[in-house]
Symmetry: D2
Subunit: 179 residues, 4 copies
Amino acid sequence: MQFVESQKTYNAALQLLAQRGVRIQDIAEIVFFLQENYISGLTMDRCEESVHAVLQKREVQNALITGIQLDMLAEQNQLISPLQEIIASDESLYGIDEVMSFAIVNLYGSIGFTNYGYVDKLKHGILEKLNDKRNGVHTFLDDLVGAIAAAASSRLAHRVRREAEERLQMQREFNLTAK
Amino acid sequence: MQFVESQKTYNAALQLLAQRGVRIQDIAEIVFFLQENYISGLTMDRCEESVHAVLQKREVQNALITGIQLDMLAEQNQLISPLQEIIASDESLYGIDEVMSFAIVNLYGSIGFTNYGYVDKLKHGILEKLNDKRNGVHTFLDDLVGAIAAAASSRLAHRVRREAEERLQMQREFNLTAK
Amino acid sequence: MQFVESQKTYNAALQLLAQRGVRIQDIAEIVFFLQENYISGLTMDRCEESVHAVLQKREVQNALITGIQLDMLAEQNQLISPLQEIIASDESLYGIDEVMSFAIVNLYGSIGFTNYGYVDKLKHGILEKLNDKRNGVHTFLDDLVGAIAAAASSRLAHRVRREAEERLQMQREFNLTAK
Amino acid sequence: MQFVESQKTYNAALQLLAQRGVRIQDIAEIVFFLQENYISGLTMDRCEESVHAVLQKREVQNALITGIQLDMLAEQNQLISPLQEIIASDESLYGIDEVMSFAIVNLYGSIGFTNYGYVDKLKHGILEKLNDKRNGVHTFLDDLVGAIAAAASSRLAHRVRREAEERLQMQREFNLTAK
């Protein structure tokens, strides 16, 4: 069996993110923005941890490497026409960037759909910077960053629920013992 | 070949929408809200026409009939546990409503994803009413209405573009003749 | 925070599966059929373990509970027309069953899409039985079972790869030490 | 408003398809293979007409142009590592090709999912040729061709149904008149 090792795709994805000006912290800030009203006592540390977990997924790494590569080629004017003009101008009817982002969100279930759409419209934090054409071509990257943030939010929502259920269970056992 | 006729599913979908308090105009208002900043001279008539076109699609009718049926059964307390509690309380980890909505948005391509997420978060217009638990169980319907509005918006965006291209073409032909 | 506990949705999903005549082993057999040519030394135990892991996911439980509930209501002739006729006859243009199944497959990434379509067409094993109208209404269940099998196959493929990578890594370290 | 005209994306998609050795007829043959048992009197002409209609969709053109561009860059060894190795070897855990294909199938509703998975596994007709590594890199193209065929099949199924409904309606009107 011949294959490309996960360590390689993981390292490449992280390196490309850094190279294109996106820090884990920037994505975590979007997660915090999306979840602070729903999760009491939410910390930035917890958001960063969730972003890290999402980045461990091979599908996420694949989407990042492919999307950033297309952004870079468009920046270097090396794509065939009209793909070159479409990606360079972030053409409004393109949609392949959304398709790729959607595959990321899906990994943590459908509850992340609305978060993805919401941050994409609002252009919160790093998304505003990526969306500014003066900072280079980020047609794919801005959608992918929003998708990773939405996925990390879904993951957090599932985790927080599990913890609440565990506390409830412990409480029940305690009550039983106390009787 | 045995089958259920389109006229039947279309009529049922429209009747159920009306019965649950949603008018075409209510959905068109969300379309207007989503598109007024992007389409100059947009009218409510045009938005309504687009909503009507989306409702012609069999997939949309199927989703509406299925979702509204589940809402109604939950309202009448006729579902098995825990599905009854999940739909009646619009449980945050459910997600099947989003899955169905998503199938509607997809019919007009990926450019509608973000609009769907955006209106779902904002609870604009009729969505606020549907989301108010005192008005009955609308766990599926509020998502489906948002999805139809997002789909109708995508459809409009494609149409408006086509018209702009046709004008451009006519202009070119005019210039050629004028030389 | 009010919510429906995971233990409840998990138990309900498993009980409904059993009640409708589907054993974990039946789903595992489809996984085995899909993967035996790709994974050397594959055992039924390993396939069953993977099916169990997929069934732990809340999204999968939600889809099962919703789909089986609709199948049962159609069997009892309790749905509104024309949804009743559509589900009872497994109407070929329906598609909501596929939409739900797809949400399950997506949880393990896009590599499961083709496996889902393949087993659905072939009606392998339990799927043939579920597809026989004389055995009751299983419009949703046959698609959901195929989707769970496809998801469990994707999960296995990711695991097997990880193990191969770990063996490779150990080999490298051994070679380094041996020098 | 600045944009890339549909005529341009349409022409580019068709030209790239031809350049990479795929004729409309090849895709139509897959449609015929998928539908001949379901549609009595199906002709190759009708299948070709359906493929042409699918190719009119902007989303389909976008997916083709993007996917074929990535295939070509991999063939010319011009992608960054490890994307180069992943696409050149059609790495089994990649999945972005499936994600893009899926966006095409979705445009005609969920009933096309299973057809897509089925032809992808079977490698019918042109798909076998595209899948042969000696004929160049077609990691994206083979999936996209299968997706276009599946979409054209869904479109046909919807059309054939509509025609049957129209015949039924005419029959009813005739009977009414004849009384």
